[in-house]
Symmetry: C2
Subunit: 454 residues, 2 copies
């Protein structure tokens, strides 16, 4: 084994000073969100009850770059810049001539990329005089990131955790509480939405959102915080891709293909947007692959339409690929990818043919994750296991074609809280649920009466 | 908040090329281990049935430095060098003029410092033609580090996990299995030692050691691997302190005091030995604090005597502070610190007055850990929480004295698999077991009939 570069590390002075706002590079005007009552374009004023103006401005900004506040860069220093790895051992295990790189975000205190936006949102809310943030969480990745961020900016944090997860995943709850957050089992009896849904004892993400939004809307010193989908959330995540661009330069390589998993789109957008900007500006030719679960195949099987962001139908309508806002994805372990829609920005890029979506079954993603763990060490979360599956397929193709393909992917989190899923996989007890034609028909029937998209 | 350095990072070329062997600097000849049958000094030959010669040579070497094999440095690149942090936020929370630094080892795939020696041991065994390593594990930190290391060097790995942990901590077990290890519940029915102890259904570390050693001793292509206590294990860990020395130079500061927790001593030795060498050579004046649990106060309350390393009494006798080899520490959550003895090297330094031991109760360590998590982000494992408690006390003293004391400590692992302990602490349900005079009397009575130490 000869000396060779494995990890490309940056110093804290290399933390980006600006976020990349891809909105400025999109050729067409973006489709506006619609007010759920009037079906007219929703404006910034519709969002002020639950978001601070600084984040609303980021949400609608057309500026190509937005400066990162110094206090946010200071908070980033706790774990950023994150390393870029060359996966020599995985390449050897695959016998591929491809060069595989991964950007690892699992070293953050909360264990995923989520704190990149959580600290930005906590900072802007604290700066606006807000005292408390509310949010929902499913398996707990987002809730723990926001709890951590609130602890840094002396904000209270109140999390509604989906009842079934609250009961089954006590450790993510303990993590939030260790950072000082209050965690409610949803449906709770402290909100109208929760009391109305008491029959629904296991809860759902839709109900949890309604509870968190209700409390934020009713209290002037309380705001709501969302962990994906919205433009400003993806914006904050672009620190990932900007660092990766520099690190690929250090490695002296240009990626042929960039791969990331997509749930709401914040991990995908965070890694790819800085690379996509170069493509949109004609400076590079790069392929982009969005990996999603076959059990919740929004980008590969959904319809492109205006739909609600939440199950209950309280949010503005967004233009996106959707499986229908009332679709309840089967309980695959990649909880962060179980979302009926996706970020409108990412959906637009898929629609424009700039991003290629691929769907994978649960077992083939765990098969890839175990091979990765046994060669590279890190045990991946089930979400990035989808990206690893796509990477291995690309690497196999490269071997068959005899091509030195350069592949970069986002390893957005570790699987320390997902080991029961590995247990089930290794025991051969993991299911492979798939989306059906019936599911699609139901989705189409449930779409709200909004203008059609082409 | 002004720009200021938070994280000091090194590149992979800065991974040390040699391990620091403090044995070369100890003024007196080291006391030899004794053969348990003859009570005569045990030599290298007594160890060949279960260890490869390369590790035995490291165990007894008087060379001041030992070169790190290139394949081990290659494996280190997966997570090394690890970052050194300045704990600005913790300092602010404490209102102290002290400067607090921590070296964070939790970013390794297994989540602690343990892989530093696991990869070195796996490499030397693979190089010697060994096919399988056996070991014991309590809560699973060491077992998972060795499982990870074996996956890198294509070795089989067989772990005997203490029965009660096997039942209560399925996730550490899943982690080992994900890396390809076979995990047995101890006592198992596949060893004589296990079958003889079947009545002991919850198991113990002592029984698990006996099972792992038995299998290694009986099979020529199988060796045994230990995660702490022995000289060569502490040697491998000195990459931590060497990196920290360079990083403190980058920070432009000289530590007044270096703090680490002690279980078997490998984390403590790994961080402090490179700093201790400077003191022993007259190049620096540094204080060293060894933090241990009041429930298992080996260094603060134990007797300095020859004692067995294991409960059953199969290992050579080692000169160390001991609470008696048959002492079963109360079930505090810092499982890695529940050991009746300590590394002979570390014990000798305590005996010589170069290292100051301090014991802490469980609740005060969790109190410190939660303050740390809420200021610095990372949720510490219960073991380094003992070091954090000592650091906070030092920082409080510095505030009272109006001193800019520079404190460095080892944050040897994260607490992702210890959140039930945080849960209990936050609920006020954590106990504070303490060592009693009765315990000490029993310990003295159980000491083997070996030469007395002064």
């Amino acid at each position: 084994m000869s000396e060779r570069a494995v990890r490309f590390v940056l110093g804290e002075r290399d933390i980006p000073t600006h976020w990349v706002n891809l909105m400025a590079d999109i050729p067409d005007d973006p489709l506006p969100p619609l007010h759920p009552g009037t079906m007219q374009p929703a404006g910034p004023d519709d969002l002020t009850p639950i978001f601070p103006m600084a984040l609303i401005q980021q949400e609608v900004s057309g500026d190509p770059e937005i400066e990162i506040p110094e206090a946010v860069r200071e908070a980033y220093k706790l774990w950023r810049p994150t390393p870029l790895h060359r996966a020599h051992r995985l390449e050897r295990a695959l016998g591929t001539p491809a060069h595989i790189y991964y950007k690892y975000e699992g070293g953050s205190p909360a264990g995923s990329h989520k704190p990149n936006t959580a600290v930005a949102q906590a900072y802007e809310n604290a700066a606006a005089g807000i005292k408390k943030l509310t949010t929902e969480t499913g398996a707990g990745q987002w809730g723990s990131a926001l709890a951590f961020a609130c602890s840094l900016f002396d904000l209270e944090c109140e999390v509604w955790m989906v009842g079934s997860s609250y009961d089954q995943k006590p450790y993510r709850r303990s993590m939030m509480q260790t950072w000082g957050a209050t965690v409610h089992r949803s449906p709770s009896d402290i909100t109208e939405a929760g009391r109305a849904q008491r029959a629904h004892t296991t809860g759902s993400l839709g109900i949890a959102i309604s509870e968190a939004v209700e409390v934020a809307a009713q209290n002037p010193d309380t705001n709501y915080s969302l962990g994906s989908v919205l433009n400003h959330v993806l914006l904050h995540q672009t620190v990932i891709g900007q660092e990766a661009l520099r690190q690929m330069e250090m490695a002296g390589e240009e990626p042929d293909v960039v791969v990331a998993c997509v749930g709401g789109g914040s991990n995908f957008g965070g890694l790819t947007f800085p690379f996509l900007r170069r493509v949109l500006r004609g400076h590079a030719k790069t392929r982009f692959i969005a990996a999603e679960p076959a059990a919740c195949p929004t980008l590969t099987r959904g319809v492109y339409a205006y739909d609600f962001g939440d199950t209950v139908g309280l949010t503005p309508l967004m233009p996106m690929y959707t499986l229908g806002h009332d679709f309840v994805p089967p309980p695959v372990h990649a909880g962060g990818l179980r979302y009926h829609g996706d970020s409108p920005l990412v959906c637009g890029l898929v629609k424009a043919g700039l991003v290629e979506p691929r769907a994978y079954k649960q077992n083939e993603t765990f098969d890839a994750a175990v091979l990765f763990a046994r060669s590279e060490g890190v045990i991946p979360a089930p979400e990035p296991a989808h990206a690893i599956r796509a990477v291995i397929d690309e690497a196999d193709e490269a071997r068959e074609a005899g091509e030195e393909r350069v592949i970069l992917f986002g390893l957005c989190g570790h699987g320390h809280f997902d080991l029961s899923a590995y247990d089930a996989f290794l025991a051969g007890k993991l299911e492979d649920p798939e989306f059906s034609e019936e599911d699609l028909e139901r989705a189409l029937a449930a779409l709200p009466a909004a203008p059609a998209l082409t």
